[in-house]
């Protein structure tokens, strides 16, 4: 790999020639703000919040799309850069609902973070603000395009990763909008509700309905686990608050890069379905009656012993489960085999 020498904020670095300014800065621990950048998506350089000053360049190039080159001298927080960032943030604010207090994204919103970082308290520009109708037609998340900052990550995620291509930029100029083909509600589009767009939206434009008003990032504990549905094996963090799941973040560092489908992303609420079994049951005279664990387990053990004694171990059979853990499958077959039979199977074939 060829290397080049560059200077970022006075710091001399030797970096891979294939890096962008953003990557080079990251490697030196310098954080450059971004809205539209996502390492796995096409680089679009759309939001312009990552612009930096490069000695000799006429404009302020975007750090996320500009490759480093030998001898490049870069300032990531110069006065000119900060001014451009501030103006761009103010331009966004001129068009953004000021309802952070109740916005679901508070605390994990990049617009908030950067406004804080650059001390932008609102917008000096008065004028027209866009008004878009809320799209809450699907049961999993709603779209509030009034908060959209046009980073286009959702568009690219949907097209490049999912392949659904449900959303696109539409119209031009100030009337531009990120929406479905023919501007219909998401539910009528080719959307497959994977929620990947929701997970990359840097602001509160795409918000899951689950955990609404109950999911502040600082209130929840995040527990890494693996999806219980199909064999793809997506991993993610469950957001837990007061012993309830209130949300989910995909594991972007995982092997599947945080890609998920609708079942895994939104279909976890069966956990607290009211008809969960909460106690052992024993059938008496054709009816189930609640029992203690000891009663139930003793009964099971004694029945197994009884059948084995009377008909031999091969009169017992066990169906294990492709849904439970390795440890449980292991123990299950160990139990059956310890009883003296190999009659153990599961529904791998179904």
């Amino acid at each position: 790999m060829t290397k080049v020498n560059i200077t970022i904020n006075g710091q001399q670095l030797e970096v891979d020639a294939s890096m962008t300014i953003l990557e080079a800065a990251e490697s030196a621990g310098i954080e450059i703000p971004t809205f539209c950048h996502d390492p796995e998506l096409t680089r679009v350089g759309a939001c312009r919040i990552c612009v930096v000053e490069v000695a000799g360049a006429r404009n302020l190039p975007a750090a996320c799309t500009t490759p480093v080159s030998e001898g490049m001298v870069i300032e990531t927080e110069s006065e000119r850069v900060i001014k451009a960032r501030r103006v761009n943030l103010q331009l966004i604010w001129a068009n953004h609902p000021q309802d952070c207090l109740t916005c679901e994204k508070t605390g994990s919103c990049k617009l908030q973070d950067y406004s804080y970082r650059y001390n932008v308290t609102g917008s000096p520009y008065q004028g027209e603000a866009k008004v878009f109708e809320l799209d809450n037609t699907n049961p999993f998340f709603f779209r509030d395009l009034n908060k959209c900052i046009y980073c286009g990550k959702c568009v690219r995620k949907c097209f490049e990763v999912n392949g659904a291509g449900a959303i696109e930029f539409m119209y031009r100029g100030f009337n531009s909008k990120v929406t479905t083909a023919f501007d219909v509600p998401l539910e009528e589009s080719s959307c497959v509700m994977c929620g990947m767009c929701v997970d990359v939206c840097p602001v509160g434009a795409l918000t899951p309905l689950q955990g609404l008003h109950n999911n502040r990032p600082w209130e929840v504990e995040k527990v890494l686990t693996t999806c219980p549905y199909c064999g793809c094996g997506c991993t993610y963090y469950l957001h837990v608050k007061n012993d309830k799941i209130v949300g989910l973040t995909p594991n972007f560092e995982g092997p599947l890069k945080g890609h998920m489908c609708v079942k895994g992303r939104f279909g976890w609420d069966f956990v607290d379905s009211p008809d969960r079994l909460k106690t052992p049951l024993i059938k008496k005279d054709g009816e189930f009656v609640e029992a203690t664990w000891d009663e139930a387990l003793d009964l099971v053990a004694s029945k197994f012993k009884e059948v084995r004694a009377q008909y031999g171990p091969d009169a017992i059979a066990g169906l294990s489960s492709a849904r439970t853990t390795n440890e449980e499958n292991y123990l299950f077959q160990k139990l059956l085999r310890s009883l003296g039979t190999n009659n153990v199977d599961h529904c791998a074939r179904l």
Partner: protein, 525 residues
């Protein structure tokens, strides 16, 4: 899978057979579509015009139950056109001559008669697959759920061996495992003939090892498979049954028979999250916890062992499955005392060479692909590099056989079953999710517009579907996703339990039931 999920994206050709990937393995579906965007050629073989067909270079719309004829014909073309990887065949395989002799008669024209796929498409598909620098085959139940399931898989392997598309990146033979931990359940020996890591119960050495480790006498006779178990229950050879986290009443073929068999049992224990249709027949029901309330590991379809961590307290008095089994084991006098899932995992690793190097700490945020023999081994994303586990890759000479059920005058349609994106398996979980329920909460049997017209059916009309074993009522969705003469149902909905219709004819080797081919009658209800 012999290769990883992410590799699919960079294959130069992908052959998807009997897998509606975008709905059943959505994340792998994304990879396939991405691969196509990157220029990969895609071949799709399926009776239904599934979403992937929109991306395919060739769509082989075969009649259900004719996989072998198709695959043999592809092999025929590959050989005839000199597209085989001679070097690979010489160095790494055996039994090539038998294959050659068998596929000789499977000309594309001959296969066309059996499969209904135009000969020219078979030729195109064979060329695409064989000429690509790297080609990956993906398949699922559309291949295995047949009376010829095992042979189907073998003929898939033949193609990979013929072209050297195995044991290298972006290629391989890749069964996509349907459920989150089928791979793990198999690895753990939840199968009648093997202990963990596929160590055979008939192997003296293996048995001795487990006998010693577990301190019990072990049987050396392979046990019964699911379908056999139910028949044995019918014959009263099986008297007691323990079912953990499964719903065979809905998931297994010929439900009424399953139910009859369960009723013959003297004692049935069912352990589940919910009072499933199966649990209703139990004598004892043990409440288990969900994945979010316990610790452990799952193995995904690419053999990646990943961590499950406890996020919630157990609901009510429910316990983790392992705790329940542990308690039973104690009561049976096995002297067990597992304190946590990790204790069990340590034992697994000690007894299973392919897991020997794995421990909880190592799993981190990415998990590890087995085989991982030692603690400093990085895991094995790609199998069979340089050498097959059995030494040489063996070609298998297999012949086409008609499916066990054929349509006739009384049952003129072929029913094939599967899943849809928004639901999963028998719906025990997904149908308890508010959002998923809202998107779809009933069966919509797919039927071709021509057939619908002949039966005077309108969209969403109710029909009675009957087979030689039972009948259900379902609404219809009229769509040319299914060809004429074929109807498609899921098994997600207990109200329209498709498995009341299916048969338990199964593949003699793998004992997988032929869920993909059932002769049915459709009438307006």
């Amino acid at each position: 899978m012999t290769n990883t999920i992410n590799e699919v994206e960079d294959a130069k050709a992908i052959f998807v057979i009997g897998s509606n990937t975008t709905e059943n393995h959505p994340v792998i579906g994304y990879r396939i579509k991405r691969a196509v965007k990157k220029g990969a050629k895609l071949i799709v073989a399926d009776p239904r015009r599934i979403e992937l067909c929109d991306y395919a270079d060739v769509f082989l719309q075969l009649k259900p139950g004719t996989n072998i004829a198709l695959l043999n014909a592809m092999a025929h073309v590959i050989l005839k056109e000199g597209l085989a990887d001679e070097e690979f065949i010489k160095a790494r395989t055996e039994n090539f001559d038998a294959l050659k002799a068998t596929v000789e008669k499977y000309t594309p024209e001959y296969a066309e008669k059996i499969t209904g796929v135009p000969a020219e498409n078979i030729i195109r598909a064979a060329r695409i697959y064989a000429e690509a620098e790297t080609a990956s085959i993906l398949y699922t139940m559309g291949v295995t759920q047949h009376t010829t399931g095992t042979d189907n898989v073998l003929s898939i392997a033949n193609l990979a061996l013929l072209t050297g598309n195995i044991g290298k990146p972006f290629s391989g033979v890749n069964p996509l495992r349907g459920q989150n931990n089928v791979q793990g359940a198999c690895d753990m020996g939840a199968l009648p003939d093997v202990f963990t890591g596929y160590q055979s119960v008939t192997d003296e050495k293996a048995r001795a090892k487990f006998t010693q480790a577990w301190g019990v006498e072990l049987s050396g006779t392979p046990g019964l498979t699911v379908t056999e178990m139910f028949s044995a229950a019918e014959n009263r050879d099986i008297r007691a049954m323990y079912i953990m986290g499964e719903n065979p009443y809905l998931s297994d073929p010929d439900s009424s028979h399953v139910r009859y068999c369960m009723e013959q049992l003297e004692f049935l224990v069912v352990q589940d999250l919910f009072l499933t249709e199966t649990a209703k027949y139990a004598d004892v029901v043990l409440p288990a916890v969900s994945w979010a309330e316990k610790e452990g590991t799952f193995v995904n379809t690419e053999r990646r062992v990943q961590k499950v961590n406890q996020a919630l307290k157990p609901r009510g008095k429910a316990k983790a499955d392992w705790q329940i089994i542990n308690e039973i084991g104690k009561r049976l006098g096995f002297g067990w005392n597992y304190r946590c899932a990790e204790d069990i995992f340590t034992e697994i690793a000690a007894l299973t060479p392919s897991y020997a190097g794995i421990n909880y700490e190592r799993l981190g945020v990415t998990g590890i692909n087995w085989p991982c023999p030692t603690e400093d081994h990085p895991g094995t994303p790609i199998l069979h590099v340089g050498k097959f586990s059995r030494g040489l890759g063996r070609f298998s000479a297999v012949e086409h056989q008609d499916p066990a059920e054929k349509p006739d005058e009384d049952f003129p349609f072929l029913l094939t079953t599967g899943r849809v994106l928004y639901h999963y398996h028998t719906g025990t979980m997904t149908r308890r999710s508010k959002g998923l329920r809202k998107v779809l909460n009933e069966e919509l049997m797919e039927i071709n517009p021509h057939d619908a017209k002949a039966l005077k059916l309108q969209e969403s009309d109710l029909v009675k579907v009957s087979s030689r074993r039972g009948e259900v009522k379902s609404k219809v969705r009229i769509t040319d996703r299914v060809p004429r003469g074929v109807v498609f149902m899921t098994f997600h909905f207990k109200e329209t339990a498709a498995n009341l219709l299916t048969s338990s004819h199964s593949c003699p080797t793998a004992k997988i039931p032929e869920l993909k081919v059932t002769a049915v009658r459709v009438e307006k209800a």
